[in-house]
């Protein structure tokens, strides 16, 4: 049986957007297309949480149906994984809640069930999370201030790939950076099941002064429909069938 595919954009940034449309709007658009937008704000060691920045990050995740978190770069690895997994569970739980409302009436959610029934439902959610295919588009802010954090970002993404590839479901990752050279975003790494090959591509990142978060999310959203992604999943399906034929 084929399980569904969960789609996520993971935005890694360290500041506020200052160019183009409101990122909350484009995040809401992405969410409408079935793509969850998660945001991680990365702080420098000497930085404290800036309330404006915090608010923007929360707003983007809120309208993108995702999860947001602000971290110092040393705990980035674990946060990237927690945010991704948490968002998967949240999306799946959303589906389950919708079904529950249809069965039990509009005011019922998971929290209104007694702990025993809730436990049974969470088992199903967990199973789905383990089996579902997942597509993650990582959108990295490469404006000047991010420069000394890129090494940590790279390590966290390789680590994320180790974790997600330990699941039963399949994964596809792509990495885009923004701002791009003459475009809103720049392809760093095309859709692929593993991220261990990124060590060589990462130094290619260039830095600029502007942060067009809104337009970047919009562009990222379009990358999910791209042929290369469809083809890679289809090819794998075919080879899987052939193998079972023997």
């Amino acid at each position: 049986m084929r399980k569904g595919t969960l789609k996520q954009i993971l935005l890694l940034t360290d500041g506020c957007s200052n160019r183009g449309e409101d990122p909350s709007v484009t995040a809401a658009l992405a969410y409408q297309q079935g793509i969850t937008v998660n945001v991680i704000g990365i702080l420098d060691d000497d930085q404290t949480e800036d309330s404006v920045e915090l608010k923007e990050i929360e707003e983007i995740a809120l309208s993108g149906g995702g999860v947001s978190q602000i971290v110092y770069s040393e705990s980035l690895s674990q946060t990237v994984q927690m945010v991704t997994k948490q968002a998967m569970t949240q999306t799946l739980q959303g589906f389950v809640n919708k079904e529950l409302k249809q069965i039990l009436g509009s005011n019922h959610t998971l929290e209104d069930l007694d702990p025993e029934k809730r436990g049974e439902i969470m088992e199903v959610v967990e199973d789905l999370g383990e089996m579902s295919d997942l597509e993650v588009l990582v959108l990295v802010d490469t404006s000047a201030s991010m420069h000394n954090k890129l090494q940590t970002v790279k390590e966290s993404l390789i680590d994320l790939s180790i974790s997600l590839n330990s699941r039963i479901g399949r994964n596809r990752f792509a990495i885009y950076s923004f701002p791009g050279k003459r475009k809103d975003i720049q392809k760093v790494f095309d859709w692929s099941p593993q991220l261990d090959a990124i060590s060589t591509v990462f130094p290619k990142l260039t830095s600029g002064g502007i942060t067009p978060t809104g337009p970047a999310i919009r562009e990222a959203m379009y990358q999910f429909g791209k042929k290369s992604l469809l083809r890679s999943f289809r090819d794998e399906d075919k080879s899987g069938l052939e193998e079972t034929g023997y």
């Binding site: 929360e58 995740a61 809120l62 149906g65 995702g66 999860v67 947001s68 978190q69 690895s77 674990q78 948490q86 569970t89 949240q90 739980q93 998971l110 929290e111 007694d114 702990p115 025993e116 809730r118 436990g119 969470m122 088992e123 959610v125 967990e126 383990e130 680590d159 180790i162 974790s163 997600l164 590839n165 330990s166 699941r167 039963i168």
Partner: protein, 310 residues
């Protein structure tokens, strides 16, 4: 739309004397004090009908439900209890109207393994190894991998002295992705394997537990993980008898916990035999030291046998 609720910290700060009543099962618990806090919730010591119990409470209902599911599955496993015994699962509505999930489990009173070994001697290392490998084998036999095996999740209880698991939050079904882990203990972090739940994942973390006992401050990874870890093992005197077995486990040589336990047992017996032979051969030279070492092994095996009999 409900989003990122789980990330907003609504700090739960329960005061001693406060009563927590369940929304569904209507049981009341009186808070006595705080035992600890983790990524998912805070654990308090409480009393119910005059008896001590541990109460874990959190605003992350989903994660709590997942933990409870694991605890429930473990209760069904035959033989010794693997995790703490689960007493109740319920919700609590605070005076402010927020709903928190909580569960109540048996209170395990004991001390940290590192402290215990420092106080009572490294003869206990072998005992704890055998005890843990027994429990891990039982986990694996029932289809689970402990996952987040680390010193913080272990406690040494007394009479009989036994090391026990206290937090099963990382426990994962075999074949799935490890649910929760701690970098220092994680073979993925060291670049020495995947995060797929299998017995060998636990055995790697098991070795790291004993490394951590002798390197309480831990250390960072480097370019050559295997060499670093091997060196750290070689440098600890108390681990010398076990070093080959520990290294084998780090590189994933043992498929099962039972296999590793057999090797540890062999080590314990052979050290003892070799030493008593040597002792007879050159009585006057190293006798006091050898007698001590041989005695330590006998004591270790003796303690272990007592702990499995009771």
């Amino acid at each position: 739309m409900k989003t990122n609720r789980a990330w907003k910290k609504q700090d739960i700060d329960l005061q001693p004397g406060q009563t927590i009543s369940g929304k569904w099962h209507h049981k009341s618990y009186i808070i006595k004090g705080r035992l600890g806090a983790g990524a998912i919730g805070t654990v308090y010591l409480c009393t119910v009908n005059g008896k001590h119990a541990a109460l874990k409470i959190s605003d992350k209902g989903t994660s709590m439900t997942v933990e409870v599911n694991v605890l429930k599955s473990l209760q069904k496993v035959q033989g010794n209890r693997l995790g703490p015994y689960l007493l109740d699962v319920d919700d609590w509505v605070s005076p402010q109207g927020n709903t928190y999930s909580f569960y109540v489990m048996e209170y395990l009173k004991g001390e940290e393994m590192t402290r215990f070994i420092q106080k009572n001697g490294s003869a206990w290392v072998g005992v704890f190894m055998l005890q843990l490998l027994d429990d891990l084998e039982r986990f694996h036999q029932s289809g689970w991998v402990f996952g987040d095996l680390k010193l913080d999740n272990l406690i040494v209880v007394h009479s009989p002295t036994k090391v026990r698991f206290i937090d099963v939050g990382g426990t994962t079904q075999i074949g799935r992705a490890i649910k929760e882990y701690t970098e220092f203990y994680d073979r993925g972090y060291w670049g020495m394997g995947t995060r797929r739940a299998e017995p060998r994942y636990d055995l790697f973390a098991f070795v790291m537990v004993f490394i951590n006992v002798f390197y309480p401050k831990r250390f960072d990874r480097g370019a050559q993980s295997e060499r670093i870890l091997f060196k750290k093992i070689d440098d600890v005197k108390a681990l010398i008898p076990y070093r080959q077995v520990l290294k084998n486990a780090l590189v994933g040589k043992y498929q099962t916990s039972a296999e590793m336990k057999q090797e540890i047992t062999n080590v314990l017996y052979s050290t003892q035999q070799r030493r008593s032979r040597k002792k007879n051969a050159k009585k006057d030279t190293h006798a006091p030291f050898l007698m001590e070492a041989g005695g330590v092994t006998i004591v270790a095996i003796g303690y272990y046998l007592v702990s499995i009999l009771i």
